[in-house]
Every structure is written in structure tokens, then in C-alpha cells.
Amino acid sequence: MEKKYWKSLEERNGLPVENPGKMDEDASRSLLELINEEIADKPSSRRNFLKFAGFSFATVAIATSCKNPVNTAIPMLNKPEEVTPGMANYYASTYFDGQDYSSILVKVRDGRPIKVDGNDLSSFNHGGSSARVQGSVLSLYDDGGRFKAPMIGGLETTWNMMDLEVGKKLTEVAASGKQIVLLASTIISPSTRKVIAEFTAKYPTTKLVTFDPVSSSAIRQAHQELAGQAVIPDYHFENADVVVSFGADFLGTWLSPVEFSRRWATTRRLTEEKKNISKLFVVESCMSLTGANADVRLAVKPSQQAAVILNLYNEIAAANGGKTFTAPKTSVDVKKMATALLAAKGKSLVVNGINDPALQIITHAINFMLGNYGTTLDLGSTLNLRQGMDQEMETFVQDLEAGNVGAVMFYQSNPGYTYAESARILQNLKRIPLAVSFATAQDETSKACHYVCPDHHFLESWNDAEPKNGMYTLQQPTIRNIFNTRQVQDSLLKWSGSTSDYYTSLRKTWETDFFGKQSKYGSFNDFWNHSLQDGVFEPQLPEWSLASLNLAALDTAAVKAGSATVSADTELVFYENIALGNGSHSNNPWLMEMPDPISKVCWDNFAAMSPKMAEKLGIATGDVLYFENEKLEIPAFVQPGQADGTIGIAYGYGRSNTGKVADGTGINVYPYMKAVGGFRAFSLAVKEFRAIGNTYQLATTQMHHSMEGRPIVRETTLEEWQKKPAAGNELHEEAAKNNFTLYKEYEFAGHHWGMGIDLNACTGCSACVIGCQAENNVAVVGKEQVAMTRIMHWIRIDRYYSEDPENPSVYFQPLMCQHCDNAPCENVCPVSATNHSNEGLNQMAYNRCIGTKYCINNCPYKVRRFNWFRYATNDAFDYNQNSDLGRMVLNPDVTVRERGVVEKCSFCVQRIQEKKLLAKAENRMLQDGEILPACAQACPSGAIIFGDLNDPESRISKLYKNERNYHLLEEIHTLPSVGYLTKVRNREGGAEA
């Protein structure tokens, strides 16, 4: 039976789809003002005609009669040997924003970092990255947000003055015996810890408080009780045949998503040799990226989770002969889950994202009983991320209020925004003698600090990191500091009275602590240079210690979980947005405009509720809700898959004092995420809420690119695929049969470029979207324009739903220009601005385009974009391209498009040209896999491959021969150069559970 796929509820129910481009009166007016309201409103008259004609002629006359400008070409005074003007250098470095870690490779062109990608030498992310890593380079050039100099009381000052004043205050505070608190997010740098130790030696009352806004302290607490050490184990998804996740969005946001995506994706690939894929169960409240990729997804209220986990435990324990506990009944049938887990003992994994130690203890007890410690759970090389314990923060706030704290210094931490009761901190900052912010860019906390000692951006800094026990990476500056900033570590060293700078101290740490861990290099300089060049130093990782867990804590935990009752109230669930994370990157316009992979909304957060609940309450998308007790006002969004009785809201929005993009965009919900029993809670039961009658426009890209119900997504189940590899892809054969033409076909004498996407490996994380944006100078257009279907992204992730709207199956499909060999766009262009190259590229010559948009109309994939405005240099689009500093991020190898031309994916032709030239210069043939378009390079799970279809041995040629391969709308004979592999789900026929 043909399955019905739908992109929105209106479409599914056959309701008329409201034109998303319809704007309210005010919004469209403000656009017209760009011309001239007076003229635009008046009827055309002879006078107006003459005015316009005269103006146009004069402009043309002046423009053409002007002489060519005199350009200067100023060489470097003393060219360093490694710098070649016009060619890029790559530096290995480290990205760590206090929450997410990646080993990175920074592309530096003529002194400017312009692109950040994953470092393929790192065994952590293997060249993969996330949207935030890809976008991080833009924050370097944040003109409005970044601090330009040290500030005392809001006035710029010098570092000497700062050192004098802060030094005096520190001595005073230390003498008074009060605490000097360094409040930081997780610190994973061994050398920075040494610097802090040195500082503590000088000021003994110093105390390091670690505060992670998105805390995983329950996992640490659970292991404290189970294994005697407060650690987060490393989760080896690549070894697991069955994965059960309780609210842990490990493909999107949980702990280390880049690494986990790659690991999980390896278990989802199907090859000649590997004919099995893993099975993923997800029990969650909001539709997360992991839930969207699940084989079996169960939507439950947060307060239901305890019962589900305990029931699962009981099933496993019963089968294993372990101790069982009384568990409340639950509507969720855990039997299938338990059977699957028990069948994959030692090769399964249960993960839990709920910040409740009791539930974590039960979860890890399940893992222990399944024998997963040592195979999929690693207690040797534990994760050093998210070291914060929520209780520490609570203690600090109490100390601060009690007057025990004399000085606070904020490093990579912004509790003024992320702490639930931020007023308790901010109010007290004025009262204590010394409040220092080390923030790189303005934030809510720095506003309340008398002293601001701005840190370098991470692309300007020296540092190191130990993301996992025994895995070390280095961070190196890729540009000299743009503003008058100073590294935190240097500030601390200076205040400690040390004469050494941080670079020296960093080298010393590596010499004393790490040099001895290897034997490859005889001299430290050799070791240092090689480590710096590689970016990573990975000696033998510690053994996976199979801890025998102490299950004594289980009893209390189980009793606690067993006594939990399911709340009858509606529950708010706070989740992390894929693009913005915890909100520290909210001022990044690329990330702000990245559509959420699930909801396809950008530029806002919203209250997501299930279709059933919305229908019951009479609420539609865009209706503004008001929560009485919480004083929270937020627009509603009907989200298929949201658990009934819950409302999901993303944190990371609603910032203030950060910059033009983030300020006032969305609603801040951190104030509602208070700690319960010493652990931050990510859900909250609410009594009363109502729609207040207003509506609010959410900018969504969901309806823009509808393919009108054609067979785009093709899927099958594992069982059927094993029987017949072409299952679900029968149409491909039929299309191939009908594939003939009367016209002369293209001949591709040399290369014929093609791209292949494994829909089984693609998780929808959207790293490719931002990677493409950074590589190809794609403009940010703003919420208003997005709502008018004018988003400029060259690659988008289409998301489809099927089956039950209360718990649908979700499909992701990355879509870029398909480079059809029989392209409908090419033959409608009146000026031949778009045509076919002899390498199979659908090429686009901007300087020839006259903007008829015929090609856009004729493209069946809707991948072409029109430049309605001159986004670069236009102050109406105040994001990054309209300032000199913001434009530094532009890739000089890609044209910045003018107003009035059409643009689209080029298969990163600049990279193709570059690598072809490299092959010619080295007098050799091109290697398969040498050319990596930006999307393929960014992909953490390796779902995108690119290569030459003329080479029968290339990976892409082999992919094309795969029975799962199909092309979009192949029946209309456009002959796309992009192939997709059918999605294979590991489930029995139809929906389960």
C-alpha cells in the first residue's frame, strides 16, 4: 500500500494551506519604504515618469563616464615563508564553548580565518562537525557583540589600569578572608587548571565553581554512587545493536552529539558484508532529532518516565534473576524493548537524558545487568565534558547572598541568563567588592560586572583540552587578536604575580605532563610542533575498566522512582535547540536563521503541543499562549509527535545585551528551569494557561518547498531489504526502463560529478546547511524575508512525516541542486545564464543572469534562490555582510551575489577546480574522495559522498549501482546527478509499540 507522506497537518487533513508569504500589513509596508513611500503609493504620472527617467539616465551617465578606480596592490613588507597570498592555510585547533567539543581545522585565507571544519586526525569527531562548530567562525567577526577593550564601570580602560585595580581588590578580598569565586562552565583544559591552581596559591580563598546550564550532574552523581567516581562514561554506540534512549537526544544535543552521530551511523549502514542495522527505541516527550531517527518512538510525559524505566528494569531483572521492585503501571509496553535488549546482551545500550540521579542509577543498573559496561559503556576513557554539579552552584548562590563571597569572576559562563533565579546573582554583584567578567562578547552577566576583562575569541587563543581521559588536543591562534583583548589565562597569571605568559606555561605543561607519554619524538620541540600541526595528541587511551558496580544505591533509587506519580497537569518540557544550543551562540545570524530540523521554524522559539491537544483546546499555530503562574507569554506551534499533555519549549532564546541578532528574539525560559533536589529540572508542571487571542507569525520554511505528494521519500524495513535489496525502490527500475530520449545526450569526456546521500546515515542535524552557508557566502535574510519564502540556503533538509500525527515517523532528506543532466532550468533561461558543463555540473553564471526567475519556476526541486535584495552592504539586512568586519568571513573564492540574480548549489565548484589544479600541478590523476564539497565535509555521520561517475571504481559509481539508489522525480527524466539510498528502518511491518 502506498504510504501517505505529509509535511504539515493542513496538508494531511486536506485543508487549504495558507500562503506563508502573506504578511501582515505593517511588515509589507516597511519593505515598501525601502523605495519611497510617497512615490510608491501615488499613481504614475508624467511628472513621476520624468523624474524617474531623468534620475536613471543621470545615474547611468555618471556610472559609465566615471573613470576606472585606481586600485593599489600592497605586498607584505616581509612575507613569511608559509604564507602564499591567494592560497589558504589550514591550522589544527580546538573548539570548546564550555559545552560542546570538537577538534577542528581552521581555513585561513590571507590572514583571515574563514571556515571551521572537523579535524580528520581526531578520533573524537573524525572530521565531522556540528552546525555550531561550522558557525563559530562568524562569532569572531561579531562587530556589535564583542568587547573591544577592557572596561571598568562601562568605560574603556587599559590593561595596566585594570591589573592595578583588580590586583588591589583581590588582595583586599583575600585579606578579608572572603571567597574569591571563579565561576566557569566546564573546564577541560589541563593547562588552564594549572593556571587556576597557581592563582589559588596566590589567593588561597579562591574557589572554582563549575556551572553547566545544561547539566548532566545526575549521571555523575549516579556513577559516584554506583562506581565510586563522579564520571560520565563514554557511550560506544558503534558497538550497540540495540539502543534505548530515555529523553537523551544523543544525535542532536546530548553530551557529545557529533561523536555519537558518527558512532550510531556506522551501525545503520548497509553494505554487501553488513546486512544488519541497529535498532533504536526512543522514549521522550518532545520530538527530538533522535526521536525522529528512531525505529520505535514512544511519546510520554516527563513524569511518566520513572515508571517506564523502572518497568523496563523489572523486565530485565526478572529475566536476569535480579532483584525487582514494585513499579507503578504504565500505558507503555516495555516488553518489546526488554526482549530486544536481552537478545543483544553486551551489545546494547540504554541512555538516559533525565537529570535525576535515581533514574540514572536505574538506567545504568540496566546497562550493568545487560553486561554493557566494557563493551558499549567505557569507564576508562571517561568524558570530561559537563563536569558541573548543580549543587555547587546552589551553594555558591547561597554563599553570595550570605555575604561570604568577596569576588566573583565569570569565565565562559553567563549565569545572569542561564541560571534560573539570575536576579539573586546579578543583584549581589553590585554589593561585593569585585565582579569580573571574562566574556568575549557582551552578555547579561557582563552588564552587571564592574570589571570586564574580555577574553580572546577561541580562534585567537592558545589553549589545550582533554575532552576524554587521555585524549589531548591543542588550540592555537589563527589570527592576531582583533580587539584589545587578553586571554583569561594571561589575566589570571598576571594577577597571580607570574611573569610567564600562558603560551610558555602551556608548553611547560605539555613538556612535563605529556611529552613523556610518547616515544615517537626525541625532542620536545619536535613533539610540540607535530602535536600542534596535528591538533591532537592521542597516546594509548586508558583501558576500559569493567567496574563492578555497587548496586546498593539501587534500592533507594527504585523506591523513589516507584513512588513517582504521573502528573495530571500539563507539563512544560524544556529542550535544546539544534542550532542555538544553550543560547551562548544566539547572536550568530547563521545559527539563528538555521531552520530547526524538526519544526522548520527559525528566528523564534515556541510552545510545541500535540495536534490532539491543540484541537481539544482550540489552539492553532501562531496563537499566543499565556501561562498564568509563570507569567510566560509564547506563541503556540502544533508539533506532530509531541507527547499529549506536554508543551515543549526550547531554551537559548530571549537574550538581552548580546547584540543585534539575539536581543529580544524569542522567549527566555531559563527562569523556569529551577533545581529540584539539587539537580536542575528540565520540565515543569503548569496549572493554568490560555490563548490570549493574539496571533504571532512564526517564520517557518516548512511550506516553501513542497513537492506536492510525489514519491520523494522511499523506504523499507530491514526485513524486506534482507529479502530483496530493491524493496521500496521498485519505481527506480520502472523509471530506468522508460529512460530513453530522442535528443542527443550529453557526453562527459572527463569527469561526471555526482553526489550520493545515504538516508540511513543522515540524522538531519543540519551541519551541512551551515557548512554550505560559510563556504558559499550565503546571505542571511532575516525573519521577515524567511516568512516570505526567501531564505537563501543552498542546501536544505526536507522533513516529512507519515502515519499517526500523534507519533509520526519522520524522514529527513538533504536537498540541494540536483545538477540534472536533462535540467528543466537550463532550457528556459533566455540568456543561457545557466547551462550544462562538460563535467555534468549545472552551472550558474551570475554576471549573465538577468533575473527572469524562469529557472526557479521550472525547477521541480525548488532549489534555486533569487536575490531580492543586495544583501551584502545593505543596512536593511543588519547581520554580518553589512560591516567591514563581518565581511571578513566571506570566502574570496566565491562571488558575493548581486541583487536580481539567481543562485544555487554549485557542488562547490571552487573546490573541484582547486583539486583538479592540484592534480595537474602534481602531474597525477584525481583521487576518489579528494574533492569534498562543504556539506560532505561538515557531515558528522559521513552520509554525503561525492565523486566522479565516469570512474567505475569510485565510491559514487558503486553507490549508483546499489539497489537502494534512486533519484528524485526520476520518472520525469531530469536525470539528476544526486542519488539517494532508500531509508531502511529496523521495524516490523508498519508502526510498532
Binding site: N71, P75, L77, T84, G86, A749, Q843, N847, A921, M925
Partner: protein, 486 residues
């Protein structure tokens, strides 16, 4: 900007009032009977001013204010003529003076006549401080000159006013004053002005009196400037450094042809319709058709030339001659433009690369030290040299030197012309898209020699079997849009 062409006219305009002023001032001076004073001043300035001031201040010797009141005039004359003899002969006062001034002997002045000595003493006695006389000027002044001072400086520079201390030299005969297309190795007036402006604490005296190269010594022989001349020249330099130099204007022949023909056509048309003076209508028609043809041709030519810059040859900040370097000295192009084989751009050499040779070669045969000094100055001040860019493709074209030089083995001269014969580099080709494409159609790639092209299997077969003689860039896709536009 000053208009050099009209200088003569303005001289005439100004000559009469100037002459009147000069005569009047002369009359004034002689009327006060101050000829002796002037003689005394001349002698004093020449012989005494090096060591003495007429004030209470000591220079080398004592200040001479009121010296005629302190000492007897006869004693003074004797002392001026031969002071050391008096000291040795035991004159008490002379001895005292000698000891009081650090035992520095005063040179003898026996060549001065008694009249001279009287004049000098008279001058010292009646000395009027500078303010009253407006003779001394601030030769270190760099800005804020009056228009008249600037014009006087300009005339001095052009030799329209002779130098007081008599020399036949004039500056403009060597130092260029307008931008031209021939290379004058001497520093132009703008160069001079900028050098003058940059060097604080020095003035033209010092520059001229300590020539930096043999060439400069030879060409400035016998040139001595008076204070006020220095001052006026400074005024001119200050103006030039602000306004820059003028470009030589070419005669607008094409415009005249265009307008004349337009006028003729209008006449023909008018005659055809209204006046009917000319009997034969074919004359009108020939004029109108011919004129239209020329008009269209001119418009097309000018139209295609818009924003194209063939033959562009701007003045560079250093008078660098490719003819000298690449032609006579046979320096390889890639010695200086070293990244042409490995990068998109060919690269403009850094000043430190220039130093590889110019550490040793410190002066040029034609340019002296002035031009080469600019390299040293760049390195000393840390400010690189702002070369004027000649070859510039539009922004939406991506061109790689590596592709052409390394992969294509194209000679530099093919696009840049015979640079080794150019003193001033000019853009030899129009760098238009048609020019690129035509070359791509004709030129063969390194098909047999470069292993990369093994990808083109069918072409290889044809090539081996002799079916095709060469494989052009076009055949491997060289005229596809996305090869250059992306």
C-alpha cells in the same frame, strides 16, 4: 591644482605690480641712507654670523649686542683683524676675552679694509632685530603658506624667476611636473614634495648640501638657494604634496570628429528639409549616411572600451623599470613574482625580496639613490609600497596563475606583453572575456605530458591514433562558464 600652462600669462599679470614693489622698496632703503648698513650686513653675514649673534646670547663667540659700548672701536678693529696676535702680545682685555670664551681662537680678518670694519661696526651698532626687517624666514615651515608664496615657489621651480645666487639650473628641466607615459628616472616634483614633507627636522638646505649619490652631486653643482627661495620652494612643495600632479591631456580628436560630423549632419538635414541650398540630394544623403556610420562605429568602439583598461600604464610609487630588471639584467619573472607558479595571484614582491639585490645595489645609473631609498624607507618605517594595480579582472571571474603557468605552461608574455621591454608596465591585452575564450579555443593543453588528462579516455585514444593532432582547452571544457565564474 596649479595650471602650469597658464603660468606665463600670470607672470605678465603679476610682473607690473611686482616691479613697482621692488622699485619702491629700493627707493625706501636708499632714502634712509642705509647703504652702509646693508654693506655691513653682508660682511657680517658672510664672516661673523657663523660664530656670533647680535644679541646677548653666546653662540661660539660672545653675543655682540652693545659691543661698541663695551669696547673702544679702535681696539675692536684691531682685535677683529688679528685677535691672536693681541692675545700673544699681552693685551689684557684680549686675553680676558680669549679665556672667557673657552680659548677658542677667532680667525684673523686681515682682508677687511678699514671701511669694511667701519660698516660692520655700524651694522652691529644699529642692528635692527629680525621682526622689523622681514628678511629671515622659517625655512623649516611645512604648511600654511600663502597663495603668493606658493606661486613664487612654482616660478622658481620652473626657472621663470632666476635664483638670486646666480645659476642657470632650473628644477623643472629634470624633475617632471606632469604625469607622462615616458619614464623620467629623476624624482618628480611630487616625489620631492613627499620626501620633503616626510623628513621632519630637515630642510632643503640640508638636502641639497648633502647629496646622497654621485648623480645628485653632479646635477646640483653650483646650486645655492637663498633663505627666501627655500621658503618659497617649500611653499610650492607643500602645495604639490596636497594636490598631486597633473596628467598630460591628450587632444580630444575623436570627440571633435564626433561633434563635427554631428554638426554637418544637422546642417545637411536642415538643408534637405528647409533651406534647399544644395541642389544634389545625394550629397545630403552621403553626408548623413556616412556620418551615421562613423557615429555608430565610434559609439561601439567607445562602448566596448568602457571599463576595459588596455594600455593602462599608471605611474608607480617607485620608478621601477622592468626593462632594467627583466630586460637588461635578465632577472627571471618568477624570481620576484615567485608565487605565480603556485597560487592564484602572481604576487607582488615584498620589499624584503627587493633587498636580496638592493642590499648591494644601492644606487642606479639613472635614478641615483632616490628611488632605491624608497625600499629602505619602506623597511625602516614598516610601511609597504602601495603599487598601483594594473591587471585587474572583474570580481566574478576567478583566474589562477598556477593553472596557466604551471599546468598550462603559458609564457608570462603571452598575456602581459613584452614586459622586459617596458620601462613603465602597461596592460598589453584588453583582458576581455572574448580574448580569454579565443585563447582557450586555440591553445593546446599539456595533454600528453600531464597525467591528470588520462581521465579523458576517448580523447586519449583519438590522440594516440593520430585522429586529432592536439587537444585544446576548449575540448577539455575550457570554455564552460563554471571554469571561471563561480
Amino acid at each position: 591644482m596649479l595650471k602650469h600652462a597658464s603660468i606665463r600669462q600670470r607672470i605678465v599679470n603679476l610682473a607690473v605690480p611686482l616691479a613697482v614693489t621692488l622699485i619702491l622698496s629700493g627707493v625706501f632703503l636708499s632714502a634712509t641712507g642705509d647703504a652702509d648698513y646693508m654693506k655691513g650686513k653682508q660682511i657680517f653675514d658672510k664672516n661673523c654670523a657663523v660664530c656670533h649673534k647680535i644679541s646677548a646670547d653666546k653662540l661660539v663667540g660672545p653675543g655682540l649686542k652693545d659691543v661698541t659700548k663695551r669696547r673702544d672701536k679702535v681696539w675692536l678693529k684691531k682685535f677683529i683683524a688679528a685677535s691672536q696676535e693681541m692675545v700673544k702680545s699681552g693685551d689684557k682685555t684680549a686675553k680676558e676675552v680669549f679665556m672667557a670664551n673657552g680659548q677658542i681662537p677667532m680667525p684673523d680678518h686681515k682682508f677687511l679694509t678699514d671701511g669694511d670694519l667701519n660698516n660692520v661696526l655700524n651694522y652691529i651698532e644699529n642692528f635692527q632685530p629680525e621682526a622689523a626687517r622681514k628678511v629671515t624666514v622659517d625655512i623649516n615651515k611645512k604648511d600654511g603658506f600663502t597663495n603668493e608664496e606658493i606661486k613664487r615657489g612654482e616660478r622658481l621651480f620652473f626657472g621663470l624667476i632666476p635664483f638670486e645666487k646666480g645659476t642657470t639650473l632650473n628644477c623643472a628641466s629634470c624633475h617632471a611636473t606632469i604625469l607622462t607615459d615616458s619614464l623620467n628616472f629623476n624624482p618628480s616634483v611630487l616625489d620631492l614634495a613627499e620626501a620633503w614633507k616626510e623628513q621632519n627636522g630637515t630642510n632643503l638646505y640640508q638636502v641639497l648640501s648633502s647629496p646622497t649619490s654621485q648623480k645628485m652631486t653632479d646635477s646640483h653643482k653650483g646650486l645655492q638657494l637663498a633663505d627666501h627661495e627655500i621658503y618659497d620652494m617649500s611653499a610650492y612643495f607643500s602645495e604639490v604634496s596636497k594636490t598631486g600632479m597633473e596628467t598630460e591631456k591628450s587632444f580630444p580628436a575623436r570627440l571633435l570628429i564626433f561633434l563635427t560630423l554631428g554638426f554637418l549632419m544637422a546642417l545637411a538635414l536642415a538643408d534637405l528639409i528647409f533651406f534647399k541650398k544644395v541642389k544634389y540630394k545625394f550629397i545630403h544623403i552621403i553626408i548623413i549616411l556616412g556620418g551615421l556610420g562613423v557615429h555608430v562605429t565610434l559609439a561601439m568602439q567607445e562602448g566596448t572600451r568602457l571599463s576595459r583598461t588596455q594600455d593602462y600604464a599608471p605611474d608607480q610609487p617607485i620608478k621601477f623599470s622592468h626593462k632594467v630588471h627583466a630586460g637588461q639584467n635578465k632577472t627571471d619573472c618568477e624570481y620576484c613574482h615567485s608565487i605565480a607558479s603556485s597560487s592564484k595571484s602572481a604576487g607582488i614582491p615584498s620589499p624584503n625580496l627587493c633587498m636580496n639585490c638592493h642590499k648591494v645595489v644601492t644606487q642606479g645609473a639613472r635614478s641615483g639613490k632616490f628611488e632605491i631609498n624608497k625600499i629602505y624607507r619602506a623597511i625602516e618605517t614598516g610601511k609597504s609600497i602601495p603599487w598601483v594595480r594594473i591587471h585587474k579582472l572583474p570580481d566574478h571571474v576567478f583566474f589562477s596563475h598556477e593553472q596557466h603557468v604551471t599546468a598550462g605552461k603559458v609564457k608570462c608574455q603571452q598575456c602581459h606583453g613584452m614586459v622586459e621591454n617596458m620601462d613603465i608596465v602597461k596592460q598589453a591585452t584588453d583582458l576581455s572575456m572574448g580574448w580569454c575564450v579565443n585563447c582557450h579555443r586555440r591553445t593546446a593543453v599539456q595533454f600528453a605530458d600531464n597525467k591528470y588528462y588520462e581521465t579523458f579516455k576517448k580523447l586519449h585514444e583519438d590522440y594516440k591514433s593520430g585522429k586529432i593532432k592536439k587537444v585544446t582547452v576548449e575540448q577539455v571544457g575550457g570554455i564552460d562558464c563554471a571554469k571561471c565564474h563561480y
